[in-house]
Symmetry: C2
Subunit: 199 residues, 2 copies
Amino acid sequence: MDSVAKKAQRYHHGDLRPELVRIGRKMIEAEARPSFRGLARAAGVSHSAPQHHFPTWSHVLAACAADGYRELSADLERVKANYGTHPSEALYKMGDAYLAFADRSPVIFRLMFNRSALDVRTDEFASEASAAYNHLVRSIRDTDPSMTDAHFDYLINSIWALIHGMSVLQIERQICVSTDDGQTAYQFLRRGLEALLES
Amino acid sequence: MDSVAKKAQRYHHGDLRPELVRIGRKMIEAEARPSFRGLARAAGVSHSAPQHHFPTWSHVLAACAADGYRELSADLERVKANYGTHPSEALYKMGDAYLAFADRSPVIFRLMFNRSALDVRTDEFASEASAAYNHLVRSIRDTDPSMTDAHFDYLINSIWALIHGMSVLQIERQICVSTDDGQTAYQFLRRGLEALLES
DNA sequence: GACCTATCTAGTCAATGACAAGATTGAGGG
DNA sequence: CCCTCAATCTTGTCATTGACTAGATAGGTC
């Protein structure tokens, strides 16, 4: 009997919260109607056991969204570590990592940017979201450390908007390519980022 | 007794479907947990009356999303009518109209770009979405009728991504302004569009 | 006027979210 | 080592929900 099933047989799971987040992320991604009780079933515990870790289903969604930001942060950090000495290239590759994350986890990605669905505000969510954002901030600062605050404001908002928007269009399957020269969302994104950095 | 209440007293409502979409849009925007039965109550009919117009709740969501596209199209068309002789200016103002629509109806806006939540595909939704998109297509074509298809592909995707992304950041309250010179999302958007059009 | 179809009402059932009460167990202190 | 307390679980309950069904009403057409 594997470890998970064995744990399910014990009264005290011992590590239920992180397990619920891990299973929750999968369910939210894969099922049309993920639910609190479905999550409990998938974790092998009684229907209200998760409520001792998450008061409501909205708290589960917030925890899963925070976990999404955690993963996105790790992706962005890894890219920066590889291209740290080429700030513009780092930014293009961070955009690509953002696109790839959205492709891998489209439902969580949408949830991460849906303050109406996340009707609970948790510190965990806020701090993870902020950490991810700060990777982008530092990367843009690195492209020109002497830029004015006003120009930085323009760049951070327009660059993030372009990266985020391209990710949304991609997961909504709205990227339009009429020629057959193999242009991709990443190539459009890169050219757009180059244009914004030059402006 | 007003017309709506009078209709509610009759057995045959007579115009229930459009009424359900109108009420549904309001509910989806205003309530944390809009539901099929809540919609029926708000319309003053029995709990399963709406099912004769919408087989499932997902069909209600799809109809409301299509209605959102209908309204967005009207906004974009109105802007084009006013700035038709200045294609670039028309594009900037269409971006502003897009931002304004997202501000007015953030929940519907998110729903319109959430293929996972819209697990039914209706012809109505597809045609209204396509009509809205085509306003953008024509507007970009108008800025330079001689542009190549490959350049057009780059422009339509990056411009739409920038406009959409800026709208998402705005309704998620993520537009960051560190200076107090009154810069707005529209100003960032406009500068970004200028940069993309010049690239 | 009869018939048919569209559109409604009323009912049913399984699943759900949230809440409550009690059971189990792990950790800490005496 | 034992006791206590809190954390974490199980079981149960209730109102509401989505989807489905059966029957009632009424508008349109022939």
